[in-house]
């Protein structure tokens, strides 16, 4: 895994970080294959599998028909019989087409059959709005899957996380859903060249702070860092935490932070009602009630489908300004 010398890093785009992770994984384990729509010859509509078919052949980088149930079931059957599949579902919204495979089959096979199954399957998909793709190509549905025992869910916030979480997900012996964010694909950051894992279930303190905690997922991590800069002018020293994995959730790191700062807000791009923020807020009040100086705040999308028109979509999608406004409102400084 990680080498002992200082690892070589260079700037890499998010999309290339995923690509590199997949290539290194496939070189390291002949049982890993990728299946999905246009992942082979075309290199995926987002470019994440570019070049992989050329290197690994059609047997390991499989262009499938448009048939999400079939593709997902293929992944399950292959995982149950010794392979390590990566199943690409182009847009997260399309997972609706194969919900049975994910929720009733993949998540349950091990438990229902007395633990005999080992299911090292990774589901790789793209979530999020901001590209005028409207209601069926823009959703952030990660909370659905956090609710289903048997599944793990990760949500990278940048290129470094994208690579490290992908490697950890594929090496994990359980079903893991990797929820990437399409608007982050062009984002550049330092990424080590070697194979490294970001441990599943471990949160990362992105920005240490002393008197306010923001727990943010995916794209909202970057937005919350911007918000933290702005809130510094209000005398706030904001700690920003990226859970990285949503299921299993690292309650400990978040609670430890809130015990220190006494104030917390959770920010995600998904619809606020019933979002992962609700669960995190509940856990914080259960574990740190006596430490809280104010109610736990939440920023998320309004309870509406994602609209097409860019003016409406801008109103819809949470950003740094919304985080700042909500923090100020909670502190009575709005």
């Amino acid at each position: 895994m990680t080498t002992t010398e200082a690892p070589a890093t260079r700037k890499l785009a998010y999309v290339s970080a995923i690509n590199e992770a997949l290539a290194q994984l496939m070189r390291s384990d002949p049982n890993i294959f990728i299946a999905g729509e246009d992942v082979g010859l075309y290199g995926s509509v987002f470019g994440v599998t570019r070049g992989l078919m050329k290197e690994f052949g059609e047997n390991r980088v499989v262009d499938t028909p448009i048939a999400e149930s079939g593709i997902m079931g293929l992944g399950l059957g292959a995982a149950a019989t010794g392979l390590r599949p990566v199943i690409d579902i182009m847009f997260m919204d399309f997972i609706g087409v194969c919900m049975d495979e994910v929720v009733n089959q993949i998540a349950k096979m091990k438990y229902m059959f007395g633990g005999k199954a080992t299911l090292p399957i990774t589901i790789h998909t793209m979530a999020g709005g901001g590209m005028a793709m409207a209601a069926q190509h823009s959703q952030s549905l990660e909370a659905w899957f956090c609710h289903v025992p048997g599944l793990k869910v990760v949500m990278p916030s940048g290129p470094y996380e994208a690579k490290g979480l992908m490697i950890a997900a594929v090496r994990d012996d359980n079903p893991v859903i990797v929820v990437n964010t399409k608007t982050l694909l062009g984002m550049q950051a330092e990424v080590p060249e070697d194979m490294y894992e970001i441990p599943l279930g471990k949160a990362h303190v992105v920005r240490p702070g002393s008197n306010f905690t923001i727990i943010a997922t995916g794209r909202m991590v970057g937005e919350s860092l911007k918000a933290a800069e702005e809130l510094a002018a209000d005398g706030l020293d904001v700690e920003v935490i990226d859970p990285r994995t949503l299921q299993p959730f690292d309650t400990e790191t978040c609670v430890a932070s809130v015990r220190k700062t006494h104030r917390a807000l959770i920010a995600h791009e998904a619809v606020r009602f019933g979002g992962i923020g609700a669960e995190i807020a509940a856990q914080i009040q259960e574990e740190a009630f006596d430490f809280l100086d104010m109610p736990v705040g939440r920023v998320g999308a309004p309870f509406a489908p994602v609209p097409f028109s860019p003016v409406l979509e801008k109103q819809y999608i949470p950003d740094a300004a919304r985080v700042v406004a909500e923090v100020r409102r909670l502190l009575g400084r709005a």
Binding site: A135, F303, P305, Q315
Partner: protein
């Protein structure tokens, strides 16, 4: 075939109206005026025109992500269409749907759809309703060769045949599902073969020949209307542009020579020479048709550009039906 001169000229008009609408839409997107993804219908006009000219506003269709052509052919108002592409409040979907969801339910269009394979089950529901209510309305389900691999198509086809529903499944086989050629996504050449598995007729027609489509669709629709059950009509066609956007050549997943070969059978030029032979159209008259439609298009684009964006409150409207306000 029994077909009036008016109908012939109407078929031509519908095809040209789609073509010009799409070409302008493509330019607007390339210039950055229209956001989002556009799946253009250029090359496939004969299918929408040939089928739709048998329908009234009370007959329903389900469309796909490539839906502009269907709406134009069903009599869509170009002003409301461009306004939708522009994300304006005067658009068919009040700016909430955009290209991928462009539809007018009042014209019987139950969605352009962002989910491949979503149409067939919805179409059999509408057909069930038509039969249930004792009407002679038909429902047309447009879908692609790629969509014919989704389970939803198979479930719907089986139920349609079992319940003898007044529905026609029209497969627009353009040879590709996104960037994957048909030979790489299914082991059959003719999607129409699939009809046999469900106990309905499967018909293959030349999707570049509007008269062939018109005739085959007419028979399948008449059959549905008289209660004899569903059919699967496969139209062999080709998408001249890319899957998304306008570039059609110099792409990795198909040869330029193939595109050029199909372009020789452009459904509009083919039909124009046919009409000329029949003495129904001259080059000048064809140019006039184009001019008139372009005038309509320019006016429609001006309307769209002058239209307001949705108001702030619109975001939270139209999510639920309030009791007593159902329409």
């Amino acid at each position: 075939m029994d077909i009036s001169n008016d109908t012939l000229l109407d078929l031509h008009h519908r095809m040209v109206r789609i073509r010009l609408f799409e070409e302008e839409a493509g330019k607007l997107q390339e210039s950055g005026k229209v956001p989002g993804a556009l799946h253009l219908y250029v090359g496939e006009e004969a299918v929408a025109a040939g089928v739709m000219s048998h329908l009234s506003a009370e007959d329903q269709i389900t469309s796909t992500h490539r839906g502009h052509g269907h709406l134009v052919a069903k009599g869509g108002d170009l002003r409301k269409m461009y306004a939708e592409l522009y994300g304006r409040s005067t658009g068919y979907c009040k700016g909430k749907g955009g290209s991928m969801h462009i539809s007018d339910l009042d014209l019987g269009m139950l969605g352009a759809n962002g989910i491949v394979g979503a149409g067939p089950p919805i179409a059999i529901g509408a057909a069930f309703s038509n039969k249930y209510r004792g009407t002679d309305r038909v429902t047309i389900c447009f879908f692609g060769d790629g969509a014919s691999n989704e389970g939803t198509f198979h479930e719907a086809a089986n139920m349609a045949a079992l319940f003898k529903l007044p529905v026609v499944f029209v497969c627009e086989n353009n040879g590709f599902g996104e960037f994957t050629s048909q030979a790489r996504h299914q082991a059959i050449k003719d999607v129409a073969d699939r009809a046999a598995g469900y106990g309905m007729p499967g018909i293959i027609t030349d999707g570049m020949d509007v008269l062939a489509v018109y005739e085959a669709a007419g028979e399948a629709i008449a059959r549905a209307r008289r209660g004899a059950g569903p059919s699967l009509l496969e139209c062999k066609t080709y998408r001249f542009f890319d899957h998304v956007g306008v570039r059609g050549m110099g792409v990795v997943y198909r040869e330029d020579a193939e595109v050029l070969e199909w372009r020789k059978r452009d459904p509009i030029t083919l039909f124009e020479s046919r009409l000329e032979e029949m003495g129904l159209l001259t080059t000048e008259a064809a140019a006039q048709v184009r001019e008139r439609i372009l005038f309509e298009i320019r006016e429609a684009i001006a309307f769209a550009e002058a239209s307001p964006f949705p108001a702030e409150g619109a975001l939270m409207e139209d999510i639920y039906t309030v009791r007593g306000a159902a329409r």
